[in-house]
């Protein structure tokens, strides 16, 4: 497809389990971002990828959160030992050039931790 694709669209998990969220950016886009959208916190920046490297991980809320990107394309956001406060919509975005603000967002993964 032409847009940013995220999977799964919905994920329900038990507290303490690990989850992996996937993002397929638009082909050829160098820059990739993860944001989190939750009630009361709004939209928060998590991490920025420039190619396969992540020069800015400053938004990751704890060491339970990690992300990687391979082949300058697909990215995976992993949350270990999930907590109820991790429940949110996780949005991925991409842009064609590095250092540019995100222009294209995916539909997000809605994570519910029970």
């Amino acid at each position: 497809g032409a847009g940013v694709s995220q999977s799964p669209s919905n994920k329900v998990t038990e507290k303490g389990k690990d989850v992996e969220l996937r993002c397929d950016p638009i082909s050829g886009h160098t820059a990739l971002y993860w944001y989190r959208q939750s009630l009361g916190q709004g939209l928060e920046f998590l991490i920025y990828f420039q190619g396969n490297s992540a020069p800015d991980k400053s938004g990751l809320p704890s060491d339970r959160f990690s992300a990687e990107r391979t082949g300058g394309s697909v990215s995976t956001l992993t949350i270990q030992r999930t907590q109820q406060e991790d429940s949110a919509v996780y949005l991925c975005a991409s842009s064609p050039r590095q250092g540019e603000a995100p222009l294209h967002f995916g539909n997000g993964t809605r994570l519910t931790v029970t």
């Binding site: 940013v4 995220q6 820059a31 971002y33 709004g42 939209l43 920046f45 920025y48 800015d56 949005l91 975005a93 842009s95 590095q98 250092g99 540019e100 603000a101 995100p102 222009l103 294209h104 967002f105 995916g106 539909n107 997000g108």
Partner: protein, 113 residues
């Protein structure tokens, strides 16, 4: 660092009426400004952006916004709304050469017949 204030959390409006969504920002550096729309259960879609040049920016779906540097505002307008414009609208700001967006809290627009 930058911050954004969206002055209205909810805006009800009748179909074919005009709408204005207010956005003010603060920043110590020059900024780029954005408006995004989020339809229910979807991601964010870029409506328009101001990078430089003309302060009146036209976007998709008949929306436009005006950058006012002296008032540090970037208000979004549409002269005549449709039911399909019912959505949440986010104003965002970034510094030049800065990839991080700071988002406002969002404004929910509900269009009624």
């Amino acid at each position: 660092a930058q911050s954004v204030t969206q002055l209205d959390s909810q805006v009800p409006v009748f179909e074919e009426a005009p709408v204005e969504l207010r956005c003010n920002y603060s920043s110590s550096v020059s900024v780029y400004l954005f408006w995004y729309v989020q339809y229910p259960n979807q991601g964010l879609q870029l409506l328009l952006k101001y990078l430089s040049g003309s302060t009146l920016v036209k976007g998709i779906n008949g929306f436009e916004a005006e950058f006012n540097k002296s008032q540090t505002s970037f208000h979004l307008r549409k002269p005549s709304v449709h039911i399909s414009d019912t959505a949440e609208y986010f104003c965002a700001v970034s510094g030049h050469d800065d990839y991080k967006l700071s988002f406002g809290a969002g404004t929910t627009v509900t269009v009624r017949a």
